[in-house]
């Protein structure tokens, strides 16, 4: 498993362009002796329960074949020719703050051409869109060509995705390392999280299988 430290998605973010590489330098240097700092420090934990999301199984298979929960692990799969199976979370209560979704994620080998996590508005598009896009287990965000992480099959990793509609800034961490800072258009409404398996073009015979555990929701109220 390899994760890629962040690169700026917008040259105009001059302030961030200075701050982020410095932060990464510190993070990289200190990684030898201690783990990266928890990005959620100081954030507000948002409680959730089984009513906080709905499972969208837009396949012809029964739910029990596409979505299960075993010992706290949410197991989702989608097959070639099917559309999607996703946990669709409620719209954010406060869209004037940075909101974050976090989970440990396990991607089974063979999963490909599938979006596994989105920060989405039905009217304003997808500010974060994480896809496994090849058969090496490499992950990409949005339209970016280079991966945010490579060789992610078969190993649990912690994924954090955040977006602030007011600033348009999106951020992604893998194992608490910032791997992406982007800039989407500002504003919009009805932002929400979606995790699961959205088929972006699974080849014949292929399937994507992804697992989530320790799902947490956060908001930066500072």
């Amino acid at each position: 498993m390899r994760i890629r430290p962040t690169r700026l998605a917008l040259v105009a973010l001059v302030t961030a362009a200075v701050a982020v590489p410095l932060a990464l330098t510190v993070s990289s240097a200190s990684a030898v002796t201690r783990p990266p700092a928890d990005p959620t420090a100081g954030w507000t934990s948002i409680p959730w329960n089984a009513n906080s999301y709905s499972v969208q199984n837009w396949t012809h298979a029964p739910m029990s074949q596409r979505f299960t929960i075993t010992n706290g692990v949410y197991n989702i799969n989608v097959h070639s020719g099917e559309k999607r199976v996703e946990m669709r979370w409620d719209a954010w209560a406060n869209e004037h703050r940075e909101n974050m979704w976090e989970a440990d994620v396990l991607l089974d080998p063979g999963s490909t051409k599938t979006a596994i996590m989105q920060i989405k508005s039905n009217t304003d598009g997808e500010a974060v869109y994480i896809q496994v896009y090849d058969t090496q287990g490499d992950l990409r965000n949005d339209a970016e060509k280079s991966p945010i992480a490579t060789h992610m099959y078969g190993v649990w990793f912690n994924l954090k995705c955040a977006f602030n509609p007011v600033t348009g800034v999106s951020r992604i961490w893998i194992n608490n390392v910032l791997v992406h800072t982007g800039h989407y258009k500002r504003g919009g409404t009805h932002w929400y999280f979606k995790n699961g398996a959205y088929n972006n073009g699974l080849p014949n015979g292929a399937r994507t299988s992804v697992h989530f555990r320790n799902i947490k929701l956060w908001r930066n109220d500072h």
Binding site: L8, R84, T123, Y129, N200, G201, P203
Partner: protein
């Protein structure tokens, strides 16, 4: 050929509708048009989907072996990256409908599917390494 810089990307070649380009590995393709409308009509099966834009692509296999335009496990093909943009730079990620294998020298058409809000028409679409201007 114009060149457009996308946020976060290097310069991307940009083409108008109807202009063909070579797309690795071994395809020549052009976007021929777009239809947008209710998802229930254009892309049924997902009641959460509002509208859909179907982007029509004409392709020719200029490689030396048969394969589907929509890709295989070993070779994602030109549809490895599909993103639609509205006029305000909103992003709507898409997918390719599966296609049958095309022999060397053969051609065909495919549809790229994008979920969009009601009434929205995409203004640009990123297909692999190229942008196609759909309007303006």
């Amino acid at each position: 050929m114009a060149v457009l810089a996308l946020a976060g990307c290097a310069a991307v070649p940009t083409y108008p509708v109807g202009t063909a380009w070579d797309a690795p590995p071994g395809w020549r393709l052009s976007v021929t048009g777009m239809r947008c409308g209710p998802a229930a009509t254009l892309d049924p099966g997902d009641p959460d989907e509002q509208d859909t834009c179907l982007v029509e692509v004409a392709y020719r296999n200029i490689g030396d072996r048969a394969r589907p335009f929509s890709g295989t496990t070993d070779e994602p093909g030109p549809t490895w990256r599909l993103v639609g943009y509205d006029a305000q730079a909103g992003e709507f990620h898409g997918r390719a409908r599966p296609t049958a294998p095309t022999p060397p020298g053969g051609s065909g058409t495919a549809q790229l599917v994008f979920e969009v809000p009601s009434g929205l028409r995409l203004s640009r679409v990123l297909v692999g390494d190229a942008i196609v201007r759909l309007s303006g």
